[in-house]
């Protein structure tokens, strides 16, 4: 009997707690640290599995290369000053802080993990990586495999748990 890693598909020995190949945690018991989202919530909220309509991206006013548009409030969060941005929420007693704190947008009840995802800005492309979050990350409604890189383009819709963000990339 073996345990297959959800990230790299490596077959681990029974009883393994972390993948021997890629280090991904093979057991889930951290539902306590992040509000778990029940399936019913998602379906009544914003369409669940059905593809949500992608709204037209708002006009960008900041000169940041990449910004995040919080769909529900209309707020725009420019990502400036570095190449990598961790996105999550701050909670009490936490030593590791995300670069982008979504606490003001009810991140906890929306199921955002403390360190949920990261956005990496490279010269020619922008990558999105889910950091093994409890409720997962979706990119245009496709669920991401944790710790794997996905390309992010202007206008893409991200769901961190249930919180919806839209990626805005400066169009030069």
């Amino acid at each position: 009997m073996t345990v297959q890693c959800p990230n790299c598909a490596h077959e681990n020995f029974d009883g393994a707690l972390f993948c021997a190949e890629c280090g991904t945690k093979l057991i889930s018991e951290d539902g306590l640290s992040t509000a778990a989202i029940r399936a019913t919530d998602t379906s009544k909220g914003d369409g669940g599995e059905q593809a949500a309509p992608i709204p037209p991206p708002p006009v960008q006013t900041s000169d940041a290369f990449v910004s995040l548009h919080v769909v529900r409030t209309g707020q725009i969060l420019p990502l400036v000053g570095r190449e990598e941005f961790t996105i999550g929420r701050v909670s009490e007693g936490q030593s590791i802080l995300p670069d982008v704190d979504l606490t003001p947008f009810e991140a906890y009840s929306q199921g955002v993990s403390r360190l949920h995802a990261t956005i990496r800005v490279a010269v020619d492309q922008i990558m999105l990586i889910d950091l093994g979050s409890s409720n997962g990350t979706r990119l245009n409604n496709d669920r991401l495999q944790p710790h794997r890189e996905y390309e992010l383009r202007h206008g893409d819709m991200l769901s961190l748990g249930r919180l919806k963000l839209q990626a805005l990339v400066r169009q030069d």
Binding site: F13, D14, G15, C22, G23, T86, E149
Partner: protein, 490 residues
Amino acid sequence: MATGYLDNYYARLGVPKSATPEQIRSAYHAAARRLHPDTSENPDDTEVFLQIQEAYETLSNVQRRTDYDRLLPDDIDPPSDVMVNAIYSRSVLPTMDSPQLVYVLLDLLSRPTDEDRKKPALNICLVLDTSTSMSGPRLDMVKAAATTLVRSLNPEDYLSVVAFDDRAEVIIPAERGVDLGRIEARISQLRTGGGTEILQGLKAGMNEVGRNLSPSFVNQLLLVTDGRTYGDEAASLEVGDYAADRAITISGLGIGNEWNDEFLDALTGKTGGTSSYARRPDDIRRLLEKQFQGITRTYANNVLLDYKTPPDVELRYAFRLSPDPGALPLKTPVQLGNIPLGPSLSILIEFIIQRVPEGTRQITLAEGDLRLKIPTRKIPDTTARFSLLRTAAKEPEVEPPPQVLVKAMSRLSLYRMQERAREEMEAGNVEKATARLNSLANQLLSSGRPDLAHTVRLELKNIQKGESFGEESKKQLKYETRSLIFPDGK
């Protein structure tokens, strides 16, 4: 592992119940030499000596020993000197014919008496590299750190200092209570020159520690180097074995990028010691003082796990989580290092069980002796029996593993990934190493270390250009992921 305490003849001599007549005899002689009223200066020792003599008189005679053994309960051994706590990844193992892994977190905690809370007496030798490359700020910082260290010694501590390049020179022979001013002057006069031959320094250092070797001291050699030693690594490792046999701990500090961290880990690991890495001269003082502090906060040293596993069970990996994280050499007995006065000595062990046949009720993962020395005790040597047991059942209920174990392993997994990426690079398996470093970079990010993730990404670019793994990045990753396992002050 049960703990309990009985004052018994075996505990008095510090030998296991299974000790051979020869072990009993030599334990008695070693204790008698130190405690005999004719040689000891301490009047209290006489009473202890008489107790030991009483024990020896019974245990040295086969008939008397057999009669005495009959009076003892079956499981007499665990003494009260150390509290042992074992946490398992599974409380009940499923019976199955395919392999399964079991993790055990072993916590050894001191139970000090007031006497033990005093600093143990030291018998310490500083072995300092003074090769040409040490010139300038490196040697200046080492001198400053050595001076601070000398000033913090107690009058009953033995200190010696050896400087080495191609040859070794004893700068301060092992002595105690000597004029601080003179020692400081001699340290400040150190000059650089020549190459690095660690073997020379080690031999001279061992010689100095050997002069006053006693289980009542923390016997320690502290090696500081910035270079790679050529041609004498194997011989130096033999000195490591020799030190381990005599319960002398070797710790090391490597400065800059030239020294061989794998060698220094192997050498210090043999003796239960550890290595640390000073990237810049500014780090030297802090790291040396930290190592020194660890030495003076010792409750028990030379902690050994002398174990046996049944045929279907193998101990695959052992790692010291605290203090001084590091992989442990698997040769039995396993050198676990020191039990500090304060935080516990914490070891993570991975077992693989090939099969647990149906109908099995209980399975032994390992059993044997836990041996250690408590320098502040009249009889420093202590032995405790241990066995790691689990019950087994057919399709037991699935339970989440204990949080504390999962947390320890998640911190360890970053270290293991860099370890394996290095092995793969060395084996020429660039593709696998690249994939692993990529995962490591992402895991580092989610652990809140974008700086280290960045180091990995830069290294990946170099590797893609066909370059090898940079020495500085290699060391930085290893020692930083190590320090993530046990952050200072927890």
